[in-house]
Subunit: 324 residues, 2 copies
């Protein structure tokens, strides 16, 4: 039975992946520092005999190395995902993303674990001129510390593939949403409408065009292409895939889906400008031909994903208390 | 008078830049940890009233911030430049390159210093398919921890430009040589021939194609495009330039130039394969149209640069004692 080490296992994507891997008959070692992870998300996994949870800090290489012992593959999802406030604490992206990824690679090297899946981000393309943006787009200019830290992580993974024969699967995500989603536009908008149903403040002009992917479609894609057992001697050891749907929506569209679902007609207030904040990307839309060519395709549209998200948030308002 | 903070000031490029800046009437604060820097290289600068040397560690942010006080611009050259042995100490590139660059940026932010020149590397293109390789080449796959750390540095610099209105000049160097050169093929070959003039061991098959640029041409290019005073409100705050000549040579050619200059005919022994080591790039040749379009061009050919290097090494064999 393959044993998979999942970092950020108590997070939105990590806990969903953990449940799926267990369901597939795999064994999971979950690693999380619970800085944003939720113990509730691992309630089901916690009862499973093939799951082991280890609370640990990504900067503690010794503990991570010990925790990873005997694992066949790693899916590295732990990260500071707070893109918007990166400028207020630049060190956080360096430590929790760049150095954390280095530690994951070093722990793998110490354990002889050679397969890694990595959650990168479509934000690494910066303000791409080519849209939809393909994986081999021009050498990009980073517009956020978050994206810069993801590029740093990708580069280190590449060099461990070259130098230590690792096999890597790098996934450049659009925004993921669905059950257990606790971060992003829809999360923030719903919170506002809980607090004041008649009024919604929108950062920017609402015309920013964004892409989303439903969590189960995201996990399907990852597991569709990853080798989770022993590393193959792949000719190309670095495999990079954009993950997203073939559509994008304006922030205003998301607001519309959300308000319709809730039966609300709030007054909309725009802060103005084509960006929500410094480093916000006014148009993210990834070319997903490469992952589609493997046979994967998403099951839900962006609107369907947003509706599932709203439904989950409606039933799980406790997450707003926890994330205060 | 502009006051420039030069990291790695006691190194090959740093000390040469320091001399040139002082000669141009600028003031220089030199920062070096002397891990590979040579006090002898700063002998002349040390007597100049506009030069101040501060010995410090790139990981000591407080000391760096204090040292940088009052500087108008930074040229960040300090780095672990030991590409070949990167796999033996992966943490060194993370610390001395990635984290060091983060500290330089944070020290700049604390001091309100907003202009940075950064020594990146042509190795960031990995094994590029497009040769000569332009600055906007495809999103690359890194083949060494060194190159990965340079990509990480570039990305962080980009995001400080976006988030904190920095102005940056990123230079992707080919191998630089000339007076004070203490690292690389020619250095290693000359050392071998000093030890055993009749025999030369060459890593790989000798057919690796490499590019070199003479140090004074490199410095001319950097100072030709950089603003060293107050940051302009540049529309494009990130300016990236390849630096090199319009030619390349085989390792075998370099050997020929060297042996001719020394009047030696050693037996050549090849270790074989198209790479000298894991992560060695068998063909580096950069497209330099962009920097040439600014009016700069190199004065020396690769052969002339190698001959100057050999002449300097002949007169300065003490560097081999120091680098043991």
């Amino acid at each position: 039975m393959e044993k998979i080490f999942v970092t950020g296992a108590a997070g939105f994507i990590g806990s969903s992946l953990t449940d799926l891997l267990l369901q597939q008959g795999r064994s999971v070692v979950g690693w999380d520092n619970f800085s944003t992870g939720q113990p509730e998300f691992l309630a089901a996994a916690g009862k499973h005999p093939n799951f082991k949870l280890i609370r640990g800090d990504n900067l503690d290489l010794d503990a991570m190395t010990a925790a990873m012992k005997g694992c066949d593959a790693v899916v590295h999802l732990a990260a500071n995902a707070d893109v918007r406030f990166g400028l207020q604490h630049p060190r956080r992206d360096l430590e929790q993303n760049t150095i954390a990824t280095f530690n994951v690679l070093e722990a793998m090297r110490a354990n002889g674990t050679k397969v890694i899946g990595f959650a990168s981000s479509g934000s690494v393309y910066g303000e791409a001129v080519t849209i939809p943006t393909p994986e081999d787009y021009s050498f990009p200019i980073q517009t956020s510390l978050y994206a810069a830290s993801k590029v740093a992580g990708e580069g280190m993974i590449h060099s461990y593939c070259e130098g230590f024969s690792f096999e890597s699967y790098i996934f450049r995500f659009v925004s993921i949403l669905g059950e257990r989603y606790t971060h992003g536009h829809v999360f923030d908008f719903y919170k506002q409408l809980l607090d004041h149903p008649g009024h919604l403040k929108i950062l920017g002009d609402g015309k920013q065009r964004k892409s989303y992917l439903y969590i189960q479609d995201c996990l399907d894609a990852m597991l569709h292409v990853m080798t989770l057992g022993t590393a193959k001697t792949a000719k190309h050891r670095v495999q990079t895939y954009n993950l997203g749907t073939e559509e994008f929506v304006q922030v205003n569209d998301s607001v519309g889906f959300l308000c319709n679902a809730l039966g609300l007609k709030p007054t909309l207030e725009y802060t103005g400008g084509n960006k929500g904040w410094v480093g916000d990307n006014p148009f993210i839309f990834l070319d997903t031909k490469k992952i589609r060519a493997t046979g994967w395709k998403p099951k839900l549209t962006i609107e369907q994903g947003i509706l599932r998200t709203v439904e989950w948030l409606r039933q799980n308002q406790w997450v707003y208390e926890k994330r205060k």
